[in-house]
């Protein structure tokens, strides 16, 4: 494929700088990996590549560094986050992508015109460490059935079981990813209820999770009152509420303190570093001495080499970025990993001459193009369909005291976790998150919809939202569709002059019907709080309502757009994250998900990122596994990387130190 536009005008100086840097690099004798993005995915990949000793790693992050001292002694790593509702929930936040500088556009379908909205669309925090700064850290695994639901429903590789979708199986199985879930739970620090009993067996109080090989790193922290009253009602209805696995310390852990339930979790950076996230994996990576981080550096182009490599594959030889001073810089790369959200990865690929946007007149048609033989790049954008039901209760629930949500219920995610339990007649919804809170500025501003002046003040004194609200949020599975896509807005550019991403998205009938079906169950659950037989008989809901989703998607769970598959006809990336059409371009993150099961995606992003990085360092990433049996064998190789690079973890001890696979290069764990 043709080299894309070469390096832009004014790059002469930059080119000289590149030469100098490259020369300096040669001294290490190691190839250089450039990782675009420093969040959950990028930090994990950078950490594994650096610890392998096989790569020098350059991490380019467009957001600012808000953790002074990162990479030094962990006890002295600072932060600038406060329990500050104004900064993090009312104004465009310090780590938000500013919609005036970097807007995105949106339209429901290609028939809606060029766009129907410009501004904040699915924005994630952009800062060093990524969106794990703002999340409330639910760290859920997918279940066994989630990897092969399409087959269980009677579909096949070319036949999605749900009409109008591209529903498909994942190229690997839960058992393949299980050790990667386990190692990431331990590296990030996940609290949860499963423990090891006296006989050494794992006991999991949540019967709806798939088998696990290790207990959680920490026990559950203090439960929130607002969650306990809902869990009590749920049990009486025959549901299975359980403490939610959460990447928040319940005990001092790996140099960071225990959470003290300060009330500012979802949307906020953690002021005491009790929240686990990408930032601490990046800290680990920097400690190897083989990782360089450049913040406020926005990658705008992948420089694709002319000609083609063995097998007709493309090759990325450099990346161009705009640095903190606004200057264009180019850095050579032997390996590039896109870890910059499913939306930004597509934008960057399209800007670099990889793939093609959908045909406006036939948006459901694939468009095979250079770098994307399957014509799927940017397609199958998925979110979670949130169904929100809330109640105003007569008793003060102090719903802010805690970690936003401490319990979840899995009964509405579909049939049981094992393929043996699969029942096609049960609609797939998603996990049900209990609790959620409102802060005082939000409450006051919301209440101006109904009252002003003295009347407003009387309402704020009793606080129906902030003190008396309890919420249920179902994260419903969203179907992949070719017509839900990311491309470039034809007119609008951002402050750097780069075309902004355009999101075209409409829900499929499946998730709308599932939401409609489960909404009454959620209302029933809220109505069952308190009363006879309850541990909280004095409580009851004064009012139960349903929140209707906004038209413009603002979901933070973003998946699809460069899905993995066993061949390039069915996915943009291999089962190991490499773009099928390239020899050295990999993707990590939620964009790899072939489907969007109704669980918070971050832990799966972590597990897949370790999986992808393990494939790179073991050499497996370069191969094109095309059968389930090959992936099954490959998984064993990848698992050995865990045993070698993170030998001090519970999962590594369980796996045993099995040595290096014959085909894999020598790996030296960093100290």
């Amino acid at each position: 494929m043709g080299r894309r536009g070469a390096v832009a005008a004014g790059a002469t100086v930059a080119a000289a700088a590149v030469t100098a840097v490259a020369a300096a690099r040669r001294g290490t004798g190691r190839p250089r990996a450039v990782v675009v993005g420093s969040g959950a995915a990028g930090a994990t990949v950078a950490r594994v590549l650096a610890r392998s000793g096989l790569y020098d790693v350059l991490v380019l992050e467009k957001g600012p560094l808000l953790h002074p001292g990162l990479g030094g002694d962990i006890a002295s790593v600072g932060n600038m986050f406060a329990g500050d509702e104004l900064a993090y929930e009312i104004r465009p936040s310090p780590f938000a992508q500013d919609p005036l500088l970097e807007p995105r556009s949106f339209r429901p379908t290609a028939k809606s015109g060029m766009r129907t909205f410009v501004g904040e669309v699915n924005n994630l925090p952009t800062l060093v460490g990524g969106a794990t700064a703002h999340y409330d850290a639910k760290a859920r695994r997918l279940r066994e059935v989630d990897f092969l639901t399409n087959s269980l429903l009677g579909g096949g590789p070319d036949s999605p079981a749900i009409a109008g979708t591209t529903y498909t199986d994942w190229p690997m199985r839960y058992a393949h990813l299980e050790p990667f879930y386990a190692v990431m739970e331990e590296l990030v620090g996940v609290q949860g209820p499963a423990y090891r009993d006296g006989s050494g067996a794992i006991v999991n109080p949540n019967p709806l999770e798939s088998p696990r090989s290790t207990p959680f790193a920490m026990p559950p922290g203090v439960a929130m009152y607002s969650n306990l009253v809902l869990a009590d009602a749920a049990r009486r209805l025959g549901l299975h509420p359980a403490p939610v696995p959460t990447a928040v310390n319940s005990r001092p852990y790996r140099g960071r303190p225990a959470c003290n339930d300060c009330a500012f979790c979802l949307d906020f950076g953690c002021p005491i570093a009790a929240k686990g996230g990408g930032i601490w994996l990046l800290h680990d990576a920097l400690r190897t001495g083989r990782v360089e981080l450049r913040s406020e550096s926005t990658v705008v182009r992948l420089e694709v080499a002319g000609g083609s490599r063995a097998g007709g594959l493309g090759h990325v030889e450099a990346v161009t970025y705009i640095d903190a001073e606004g200057s264009r810089q180019t850095e050579t790369a032997d390996l590039v990993v896109l870890a910059c959200t499913p939306i930004e990865a597509v934008r960057l690929a399209l800007r670099s001459g990889i793939g093609a946007p959908p045909d406006e007149r036939d948006p459901a048609a694939r468009r095979p193009a250079a770098g994307d033989p399957g014509g799927l790049l940017g397609r199958n954008l998925m979110f979670h369909r949130q169904t929100v039901v809330y109640g105003v209760f007569d008793q003060d629930l102090h719903p802010h005291r805690g970690r936003t949500s401490t319990h979840t219920i899995d009964d509405l995610a579909g049939s049981g976790p094992s393929p043996r339990d699969f029942d096609a007649s049960i609609p797939r919804g998603g996990i049900l998150e209990l609790g959620g809170n409102a802060n005082p500025i939000f409450e006051a501003m919301a209440m101006t919809q109904v009252a002003h002046g003295a009347a407003l003040k009387r309402i704020l004194a009793v606080s129906p939202f902030r003190r008396h609200l309890n919420t249920l949020t179902m994260q419903g599975e969203d179907m992949p569709q070719l017509t839900n896509a990311v491309d470039l807005d034809p007119e609008i550019v951002d402050v750097l002059g780069e075309p902004v991403p355009r999101i075209t998205y409409s829900p499929h009938r499946h998730e709308v019907e599932a939401a409609n079906r489960y909404t009454p169950r959620l209302q029933e659950l809220l109505g069952a709080v308190g009363g006879t037989g309850s541990a909280y008989p004095e409580l009851h809901a004064l009012e139960i309502g349903v929140n209707v989703p906004d038209q413009v998607p603002n979901d933070k769970h973003i998946m699809g757009t460069h899905r993995m598959a066993l061949d390039s006809e069915h996915g943009v990336c291999t089962p190991y994250g490499r773009m099928w059409a390239f020899d050295n371009l990999y993707c990590a993150g939620g964009g790899l998900f072939p489907t969007a099961p109704g669980y918070n995606p971050t832990l799966t992003i972590w597990a897949l990122s370790y999986w992808v990085a393990a494939a790179i360092v073991s050499g497996l990433g370069a191969t094109g596994h095309r059968t389930a049996a090959q992936v099954d064998a490959g998984a064993a190789t990848l698992t050995r990387v865990i045993a070698q690079l993170d030998a001090d973890t519970m999962i590594a001890r369980r796996l045993g130190r099995t040595g290096v696979a014959d085909a894999a290069p020598m790996i030296t764990p960093a100290t």
């Binding site: 600012p64 600072g78 932060n79 600038m80 986050f81 406060a82 329990g83 509702e85 104004l86 009312i90 465009p92 936040s93 310090p94 500088l101 410009v118 501004g119 006991v203 026990p219 559950p220 203090v222 439960a223 929130m224 009152y225 005990r251 001092p252 225990a258 959470c259 003290n260 339930d261 300060c262 009330a263 002021p271 005491i272 209760f393 007569d394 102090h398 005291r401 805690g402 005082p440 006051a444 501003m445 101006t448 109904v450 009252a451 002003h452 002046g453 009347a455 003040k457 009387r458 704020l460 009793v462 606080s463 003190r467 609008i492 550019v493 002059g497 004095e538 004064l542 009012e543 309502g545």
Partner: protein
């Protein structure tokens, strides 16, 4: 959710029928006047400051004898924001957009040995030793965005350093930008004074609160005063400012005091809200529940009630909390909410 059935018409009619609404205590008025004199307003003129203060005072009033927007100095919050880029180096280290954390210094460290709070407090990260406010740096082009919000699109469209197509997208309105706040306030506050002059022959701050409330009812798009047919007309700039001013007033009441409002955190006390809680947090360590191997357990929590026992070896059992009513809560609160929601 049921719409609130609080009748604005009934409320205001009552206020007017009963003559002037309950007057503010004289000392509060005097205090406000002295605060004005010493305010060192950065954006507002003295007249604008008085008008904005008077408007805020009716948006969240203190007629009930409890602090409202005037006592919180919401006007200072608004002035600091509108003048965010005009602060002298002696007042702030960065433009006043986002305060810098992590700690305010209002809350102590926990005491993991004795349980509960210790007597040690961290210094405030939000001010330096000289009392100068500390804010987060506006990295990248963020200063540009905030200036545009405050001053208008020319900050971007007339900036030759920015890419032409971006400037054009702002100019054409392809990228939406709300009306600039500084001119919105200038024109809107003047318009409120004009309306007050026509209606009652005085500046907004000087006319009776019943008249002020009537003007605000019109500006907010609420029902007009019935009966007399003398409802003042509201000039467009005042109507445009109203929703912005209302939002900013409420922000000024309930934001961190470091932003200039919520003086002495009085509005948090009104709302029975702990505010920022770090580094103490809401979980108070209970040494009686400590695990030998894992450090202090989290147990007793004044807000949560009394916990059960955490068993480190018999398995990670869910910590069970016994429900106890919040002693601070008004036992009639539920009933009051039901009435406010129109359910009873």
């Amino acid at each position: 959710m049921a719409r609130l059935e609080v009748s604005r018409r009934g409320f205001l009619a009552g206020a007017v029928a009963g003559g002037a609404a309950t007057a503010l205590p004289v000392d509060l008025v005097a205090r406000a006047a002295s605060v004005l004199a010493a305010s060192g307003a950065r954006f507002f003129t003295a007249a604008e400051y008085a008008t904005c203060d008077a408007l805020s005072a009716r948006i969240l009033p203190s007629d009930d004898g409890r602090p409202g927007a005037r006592e919180a100095r919401a006007v200072d919050f608004i002035d600091l924001f509108l003048g965010a880029f005009d602060l002298p180096a002696s007042a702030a280290d960065q433009p006043a957009i986002w305060i810098r954390g992590p700690f305010s210094g209002r809350n102590p460290y926990p005491d993991p040995i004795a349980g509960g709070a210790s007597s040690r407090y961290p210094p405030s990260d939000m001010r330096d030793a000289a009392g100068r406010r500390r804010f987060l740096p506006l990295t990248g082009r963020r200063a540009l965005a905030w200036r545009a919000r405050l001053e208008g699109p020319a900050v971007i469209t007339e900036n030759p350093e920015l890419p032409d197509p971006y400037r054009a997208a702002i100019k054409r309105g392809l990228i939406p930008l709300d009306p600039p706040l500084r001119s919105l306030y200038r024109a809107g506050l003047a318009a409120f004074d004009d309306v007050a002059r026509v209606a009652a022959g005085g500046m907004f701050a000087d006319v009776p609160t019943s008249v002020q409330d009537a003007i605000l009812a019109r500006a907010s798009g609420g029902t007009s005063l019935g009966g007399g047919g003398h409802a003042p007309t509201i000039a467009q700039p005042a109507a445009q400012l109203y929703p912005v001013l209302e939002a900013h007033t409420l922000q000024g009441c309930f934001a961190l005091p470091e932003y200039g409002g919520n003086r002495d955190a009085a509005m948090w006390r009104f709302a029975r809200w702990e505010g920022d809680t770090q580094p103490l947090g809401n979980t108070v360590y209970d040494p009686a529940l400590a695990d030998a191997d894992l450090g202090p357990a989290q147990g007793r929590n004044a807000g949560f009630g009394r916990p059960g026992v955490y068993e480190p070896r018999g398995g990670y059992r869910e910590v069970r909390l016994v429900s106890t009513p919040d002693p601070a809560a008004d036992p009639g609160e539920g009933a009051a909410i039901a009435v406010l929601l129109g359910l009873r």
